[in-house]
Symmetry: C2
DNA sequence: CAAATTATAGTGATCGGTCTACATATTATA
DNA sequence: TATAATATGTAGACCGATCACTATAATTTG
């Protein structure tokens, strides 16, 4: 907010939105240039290695943004089960509000596409998943879960959520996401040895 | 097996493999032509409306193939919980055997990409999900589950599985899939009111 | 001035798609 | 049965458009 809406950030914003909506190959540099109003010269000035570097930075950026979201919700909501549900409900709201087009940067299907393109992109995607899993399982560890169970639970949770996002985007219906919120709550309560409410 | 390895089927095979591995935009017609050894003239003879029609048929084909797999496993394995687990374990084996490149046609991330391309492709993808869900929830209904619970359980199951496939493909590790087999079993046993083994 | 940034014109390569020519079957007619 | 006519399928040259990317000049900024 330094008065100047840094051109570089604008490009990353636009590129992220488009990449996560249309995929890597489905998004042309010309489209990014047009929608971000950033001329080609600037784009290659900021990202001299071109499209792949741009995508890589978008992926890293989404890693940080989503990680911050997880940390934030775990800080604000003391109960980890409610925190996870809050996170998921927020996703559903974002999806609804943007008509399933802007609720970047969580839906991670692009990882599969980019994993087939280059090793560096695949490594970046692996790092994203690892980071998110680390945060979630870390919170569960703090509840006293043993390490393996915490890891497994976090993985299942992330699988559910990613899968639900695919169903939700395909059907343009947030019901699939909200359903996961409910079942994730059930699963977590059970794992944490609580009685069902 | 009529002696003549129909060229049309070969194209669908190759195209499906490539589409589900690289995505729609990431797969060029020239690549399909080269790898299937089917000349462009023949391709446009079989699929006069071009790439989109080809993708549509690949999607429909995968719908049928996977639906048959579900039906088959439910016929062969009487216990629905074990049947679901068997299905998931088969996915993991296929993934391993083909080095995460051929275990088409189940991973459904391409649905998100194609959903952004045209309404007919999106409709086709919706139909695929609906069909698979119908088969799974139908089997649960036969176990005496009430309709809403059966539907919800099937949706959660499919979400888990699709999400796990994303994690597995990104990390090139079937562990994520096998983990889902375990947790799907737990969830189904609970829903069906059984004691945990 | 010098560095940082913007602005475009233009590069070869590849994209999906069209077109025509040709080869091989199958059927129709005598 | 011989052959003409039609249908089926193969083969690839070619098209304009777009792709990611480069080169270089102009402009702004410190």
């Amino acid at each position: 907010m330094a008065g100047k809406p840094n051109s570089r950030e604008t490009v990353l914003d636009t590129a992220s939105k488009l990449f996560f909506k249309q995929g890597y190959h489905g998004t042309g540099l010309n489209q990014i240039i047009k929608e971000s109003c950033c001329p080609k010269g600037s784009l290659y000035y900021y990202f001299p290695e071109g499209k792949e570097e741009l995508a890589l930075q978008c992926i890293d950026r989404s890693k940080r943004i989503v990680a911050d979201k997880w940390k934030d919700v775990f800080e604000r909501v003391p109960d980890p089960v409610r925190a996870v549900q809050r996170f998921i409900e927020n996703m559903a709201e974002d999806a609804q509000a943007t008509d399933f087009e802007g609720f970047i940067p969580f839906s991670f299907w692009m990882a599969v596409e980019t994993s087939a393109i280059s090793d560096s992109l695949r490594a970046a995607c692996q790092s994203v998943l690892a980071e998110w899993l680390h945060i979630i399982s870390g919170r569960l560890l703090k509840e006293g879960l043993q390490e393996q169970l915490a890891t497994e639970t976090a993985e299942v949770l992330l699988s559910m959520l990613e899968g639900a996002l695919i169903l939700a985007q395909t059907n343009r219906d947030t019901r699939h996401i909200l359903l996961i919120s409910k079942y994730a709550g059930l699963m977590l309560n059970e794992v944490l040895g609580r009685s069902q409410t």
